[in-house]
């Protein structure tokens, strides 16, 4: 049952987390005014296909529209980024000057692609990042067979684009700062497995290497990159896949703690730097930095699809709660599809201090790894063995239901 006091809820962010929050508010009995604000002009769309099918579908990009939850009855303000939050006056200001009052506010502004590191200078034309639909359509148009694509960063995004581009007949080089792809996210065994997949597909993988500069022709378009090894690689297109940054810059000066994402308590309430909750404000999805029981309560921003889905619903439940809101304890999960291999994961492999390889069969396309931290299961990853994940997830769910509160934000 919705609290009587809530009459005006604003959701800032019109992608997965924001839409799921809006849907959960209505499903939870909220009958007041509901406004969804989106920075992009596109109707809400699904992001996972942007690094896969949108780049590879031969007959043109597939439809990626996200369906709106039923019975939403919401005002949608698209193409109008939020630029300011005043938690004392309880208002959000949009770029066009519109000021929206709120009783309840959901921060779901997502994340932006991390750009070129300082020191590389302004990238020439043909150096791209990938985050939104416009980025994906522009990149798709550049993926002409025979062209040379250099990707900086062999994480999930870089790896998936490399696979997509290779399948379209480009010459692809993956440049990775670490010793192997995905090492921080999934450890050495999974990283080596993925490195083999890339190399077998004909992708040149350069590890322990970074892009240190760009070269451009007289027309201002990129012609190559300089590497930390001193080499130069020719390139017709360059993708920077260096991770993402929570889109919390617009909250600067609002009093919300935003280092590395909006700091949240265990119920996804936005926090001030002193650790007190900002009244009526919750956060969800890529922008939210929430305590993770599997990482001993450390606050992490997880840019995963299921995280946006589950936090959207949980943030709505917190706004609607009449008593103490329940803690958010959903078990994280992520996936990646690379060269036909279905990589599936539950928990937080990145939090592990020990990996136990249960099955490792490259020829058979099967991998199963359990991840532990101080002897306790914190995650699992499989390739071709999704069936095995359910048991790991059940164990993680049973052990991780008590969220521990971290110290106040610094």
């Amino acid at each position: 049952m919705a609290r009587q006091a809530l009459r005006e809820i604003v959701v800032v962010g019109a992608s997965l987390a924001g839409l799921r929050a809006a849907g959960a508010l209505r499903a939870g009995g909220y009958t007041g005014s509901l406004t969804i604000v989106g920075a992009e002009r596109h109707p809400p769309y699904d992001r996972p296909p942007l690094s896969k099918q949108v780049l590879t579908a031969p007959a043109g990009p597939p439809a990626t529209a996200l369906p709106l939850p039923g019975g939403l009855d919401a005002r949608r303000l698209l193409g109008r980024p939020a630029v300011r939050l005043d938690p004392a006056a309880r208002t959000v200001t949009l770029m066009d000057g519109t000021r929206l009052g709120y009783d309840g506010l959901v921060l779901a502004t997502g994340a932006a692609a991390r750009g070129a590191p300082a020191g590389l200078g302004r990238p020439p034309r043909g150096v791209r990042t990938l985050r939104g639909l416009d980025d994906a359509l522009a990149l798709r148009a550049e993926l002409v067979p025979g062209r040379r694509l250099v990707i900086a960063g062999a994480g999930f995004l870089g790896g998936e684009v490399a696979a997509a581009a290779r399948s379209r007949g480009l010459e692809v080089t993956l440049v990775e700062a670490g010793a192997r792809p995905l090492e921080r996210a999934a450890g050495t065994v999974a990283g080596d497995y993925v490195a083999d997949l890339h190399r077998e597909a004909g992708i040149a993988l350069r590890t322990r290497t970074t892009v240190t500069g760009f070269r451009a022709g007289a027309d201002g378009r990129v012609t190559g990159v300089e590497l930390s090894t001193g080499e130069r690689l020719p390139a017709d297109v360059v993708l920077l896949a260096l991770g993402s940054v929570p889109a919390a810059g617009w909250l600067a000066g609002s009093g919300v703690a935003t280092g590395g994402g909006v700091h949240c308590d265990a119920s996804l309430r936005a926090l001030r730097p002193d650790g007190s909750a900002v009244p009526g404000v919750v956060a969800a999805g890529d922008v939210a930095r929430a305590p993770q029981p599997l990482a001993d309560g450390a606050r992490l921003a997880l840019g995963h699809w299921t995280n946006a889905v589950e936090q959207g619903a949980a943030a709505a439940a917190t706004l609607l709660a009449t008593g103490a809101p329940p803690p958010f304890t959903a078990v994280p999960s992520f996936w990646s599809d690379l060269h036909g291999a279905r990589i599936r994961s539950v928990g937080l492999p990145s939090a592990a201090d020990e990996t136990r390889v249960v099955e490792h069969d490259r020829a058979g396309g099967r991998l199963e790894i359990a991840y532990h931290r101080q002897g306790r299961l914190v995650g699992a990853l499989t390739v071709g063995r999704t069936a095995r994940l359910a048991a790991y997830r059940a164990e993680l769910e049973a052990s991780g239901t008590t969220a521990r509160e971290p110290a106040p934000a610094a």
Partner: protein
């Protein structure tokens, strides 16, 4: 209640299996199998499974 899964969309993410293991599971080849007519008491779990499918392959039709 009727459950249908569009196997042309299914990518074996496993989210439905996590949400409603009474209804969904995998065979040894990671191919999803499901109970097409589970008990009405599982409607809530079925709805959750449909909501968390990343490719929207699961459709739940409650009994009229």
């Amino acid at each position: 209640m009727r459950i249908t899964v569009d196997m042309n969309r299914c990518e074996s993410h496993g989210q439905c299996v996590f949400a409603a293991p009474e209804i969904f599971s995998f065979d040894e080849d990671d191919r999803l199998v499901h109970d097409p007519a589970p008990a009405g008491a599982l409607l809530g779990a079925a709805g959750k499974a449909a909501a968390v499918c990343p490719v929207r392959a699961v459709t739940v039709t409650p009994d009229a």
